[in-house]
Symmetry: C2
Subunit: 336 residues, 2 copies
């Protein structure tokens, strides 16, 4: 028998990491046990969510952020993990040649680990798998974990906003339809980035964004954005106030990325100073707890229902002899 | 006391409908009771899911489909409901002027009811609310129910594909990033629409789509696309085979929409002939059952946990004294 050990993970061995990440994605019992063992070693990484509409160049920007974090401190370079939960991201395989070429900057760098989640799982599956992967990278000592999601789906936005620092990426010249997505996700932004800032219309885009921002982000939103049951009220609103900066970048050549890193680091500092860091940790861990609780409750319940009863009940639904709500009540009473 | 009656709903009174839809969105106990009473009156409508990337003109197309269904049979016009679950849809309020103007075609028509879901609720909330609204419209005698979602989020795609007929809308001239979304949702298409067919590049877009289509849709995918536990195997694969047609439309002037309606009706006929209709009903109702079951299990469980225990447990998570998985186990054992 091989003794299951978390040492290879803690020391960041790539093969062990890759294997564990696959197990986490499949939510195997072994993965859950390993995550339990790894958990005490987590809580050190800076989680950065990056979200925005398709076409804004999020992935290229994530790539650049990773590169810049690698270079920021030559003596003691950060290790950077990327978790891509975006069907439009080149990291998840839906790539076009141009993006693949740009990604070469990162491949081959042993201080960078990219993991994508291309598959659509169950409702809670995506959030749960992402949380698990982030824990693995955190325990493995990656100082920076970038979580890239597409800012158009409910689940995906929820994943990005549970990071310590959430970047919302915009760009000029998108269609009007996409403009509407923007308004919806502005309120979760800690930092707003207008990427592709070399495109015409960037000034208009910026003033439109500033207008939307003042509407979308009343003061109370600044304090906290998780759906939590137990936010402590010890911090004053004044201390927690953070005015989301609006920055311009050109991810294809790296323009503005250094300033973006400075803003990200400043946000982290702000969170630590105001107690916001712990508050977000709490919100994120609570969301993870609830996702896992839901998944577990459903699994345990399913295991208890005889398949014959279940099938008979679905048939009654189809025949409109029972409503879904009535069927649930019968299931909970153990009758079908 | 006013006797709660479903008669105003069954006869399609707009004020009663609007009030009930709000209750359904809020998932009130009264709404659940009313849905129970309405459920035996459902099962007559043709549910049409419309999904696609932002910028493809889905909403304008939905608008045109509704208009054409209204006009299709002058003697006995269909009543049409639209449920918009798309943050980019003008129906949900994220509109630009051009779209609003086009929507005037529908407003004021008493045979059309538009309901939007702008809010981001809990994980299962969006799917559950959509299902409830569809039941209300079905019971109220709307023959056609259009469900519009953005084809970029996991939840949203799942909602669209649980209709009887799923339209995936594409358009030429979108960015490469958006191209990648397309590949991911092609496999759920019963009918493929290239909208904005007057734009340059439509021929290239069509041949690219045909290429992707042959890859994305192997024969076994045609039979069924729900995640169900109890698919009956009575229908032969041969009978169920449906080759998704690829149609071109220009929603702004209605070009191709008549042909699209013919294809939709043909798909409905095909489903009825092959038993696929009942199969999809079953898949959809089973998904609704599972969403509701999950929600109910979690609610009941939460009501049983003392808030003090829960808060103490979250604190242990933050301090890394417990992993989320271990916390769930303790919660299930009733300890904290």
């Amino acid at each position: 028998m091989v003794k299951s050990s978390i040492d290879p993970i803690l020391s960041g061995e790539r093969m062990a990491l890759a294997r564990l990440l696959t197990e986490v994605e499949n939510d195997s019992p072994a993965a859950r046990r390993t995550l339990d063992e790894l958990f005490p070693h987590t809580g050190k990484a800076h989680l950065i969510g990056v979200t925005g509409a398709p076409g804004t160049g999020k992935s290229s920007l994530v790539n650049q952020i990773a590169l810049h974090y690698r270079r920021a401190d030559a003596a003691n370079p950060n290790r950077v993990a990327i978790v891509a939960v975006d069907p439009t991201s080149p990291f998840t395989g839906g790539a076009v040649l141009g993006d693949r070429v740009r990604m070469r900057d990162l491949s081959g760098d042993p201080g960078v680990f990219i993991r994508s989640m291309a598959s659509r799982g169950s409702l809670g599956g995506l959030a749960q798998a992402t949380a698990g992967m982030v824990q693995v990278f955190d325990a493995a000592g990656f100082e920076i974990i970038l979580i890239e999601t597409v800012g158009a789906g409910q689940t995906e936005v929820d994943i990005a906003r549970l990071a310590h620092t959430t970047l919302v990426v915009e760009s000029p010249g998108l269609g009007d339809d996409i403009q509407a997505i923007k308004a919806g996700i502005l309120e979760i932004a800690d930092i707003l980035v207008i990427n592709k800032a070399d495109l015409p219309g960037v000034d208009n885009a910026e003033s439109a964004l500033r207008g939307m921002l003042s509407l979308a982000r009343p003061v109370e939103n600044l304090i906290h954005h998780g759906q939590v049951m137990s936010v402590p009220e010890t911090e004053s609103q004044e201390d927690s106030q953070w005015e989301p900066p609006l920055l311009r970048t050109i991810a294809t050549d790296g323009t503005g990325v250094e300033e973006l890193l400075a803003a990200i680091d400043q946000h982290a500092l702000h969170l630590r100073r105001t107690g916001g860091w712990k508050q977000r940790e709490r919100a994120r861990l609570e969301a993870e707890l609830q996702t896992l609780l839901t998944e577990t409750l459903v699994e345990e319940f399913r295991a208890r229902i005889p398949i014959k009863h279940y099938t008979a009940l679905v048939e009654k639904l189809v025949q409109r002899k029972l409503s879904p709500n009535e069927a649930v009540k019968l299931l909970l009473k153990g009758k079908a």
